[in-house]
């Protein structure tokens, strides 16, 4: 790994688009310094999410952060949203430039 790179965590959240208004404000509240949001389509336990209209649209939110924040985010997401919403969260290792941003 290049010495210029620093280890961080990449938290990826794929969830129903309706969640955006509830979920996004929580990210900063739990220590995330930023996020990237894209529209997503796919298939899973709740059938095909084809994005044809809002009720069948998904979003994909990515957050780069340190391990502590990643853990906090995962705990919060599980506690608040897992019971009632279509949501998938996974965390992978990432290597970043400018670690101060994340």
């Amino acid at each position: 790994m290049s010495p210029a790179l620093t280890s961080r965590k990449l938290v990826t959240i794929i969830c129903e688009a309706e969640l955006e208004a509830l979920l996004v404000p929580e990210l900063a509240r739990h220590g995330a310094r930023g996020y990237t949001l894209t529209e997503a389509r796919g298939q899973g336990a709740r059938g095909v999410r084809d994005g044809a209209w809002r009720a069948s649209s998904n979003i994909r939110i990515e957050v780069l952060c340190d391990a502590t924040v990643a853990e906090r985010l995962v705990d919060m997401l599980q506690a608040r949203f897992y019971a009632d919403y279509g949501i998938v969260v996974f965390v992978v290792d990432a290597a970043v430039l400018r670690p101060g941003k994340f």
Binding site: A21, A52, R54
Partner: protein, 314 residues
Amino acid sequence: MPFEPVILFFLLGLLAALLRSDLKIPGVVYEALSIFLLLAIGLKGGVELARHDVLDLALPALVVVGVAMVIPLACFPILVRVGRLPRADAASIAAHYGSVSVVTFAVASSFLATRAVPADGYMTVFLALLELPALLVGVFLARRGQGQVQWSTLLHEVLAGKSIVLLAGGLLIGWFAGPEGIKPLDRLFFDLFKGMLAFFLLEMGLVAAGRLADLRRAGPFLVAFAVGAPVCAGLLGLLTAGMLDFSVGNAVLLATLYASASYIAAPAAMRIAVPEANPALSIGAALGITFPFNLMAGIPIYYWLAVHMNGALS
């Protein structure tokens, strides 16, 4: 033809989906069409509102909104007791049926225009007013003191949602500009309206076909409810219209508003405020059954009833 030709586009969409055609309307086109329709409906209402004294509408508006609250309050116990649905699902479905569908309203307006039945543009004001209150009733029914509701997020989601912003914005722009001021925009917003509505209905056909599978799992009660509720609500609309001395055209529009079920604002609001409710049930009923029912049978029925009840009521 007993129903609006524009509905054939909806049937084409349904058919295409059932045939597993590769026809797809991209999500951005759907968004653009809905923005156009909402703005055009708002503008049209606003232009005609400019011909009336707005204060005269205050009392009818109160009555129309007040009576409309009967719909979710009556649906809820039926869904719980007869349908044996969990409280959250019953409340969410009741909210969907209490709120309104803009496109159903647009098709009813178009139905009246085809038959040269006059209706007042200010009916659009009722359309804008009727979206929110039933959603609040639904949330109240689901919660009744239990659990927390993020009221501020919910209110923001609905009031700042595109349907209210564009309908109310269009109404204000149309009202401010008046018939003369809006003339340069006539071609875009009024002449193209039916074509855009046809496009939108094609897409709704595609989407509605996908919801039918959800309903198969829901069972016969919900299917019967999705037909029975709009007919009863439509009758309530006709009676209210009679009480307010509305013309036949206005009575049909009010009946259609009461009979229609929301499938855009309500699902979004219920996902936030009553997340444990299963959206497949409410959207399946509202969009899979009630929407096509109103388009093809409901609106002609409300029209027929309004014409025949007119003498008896006024």
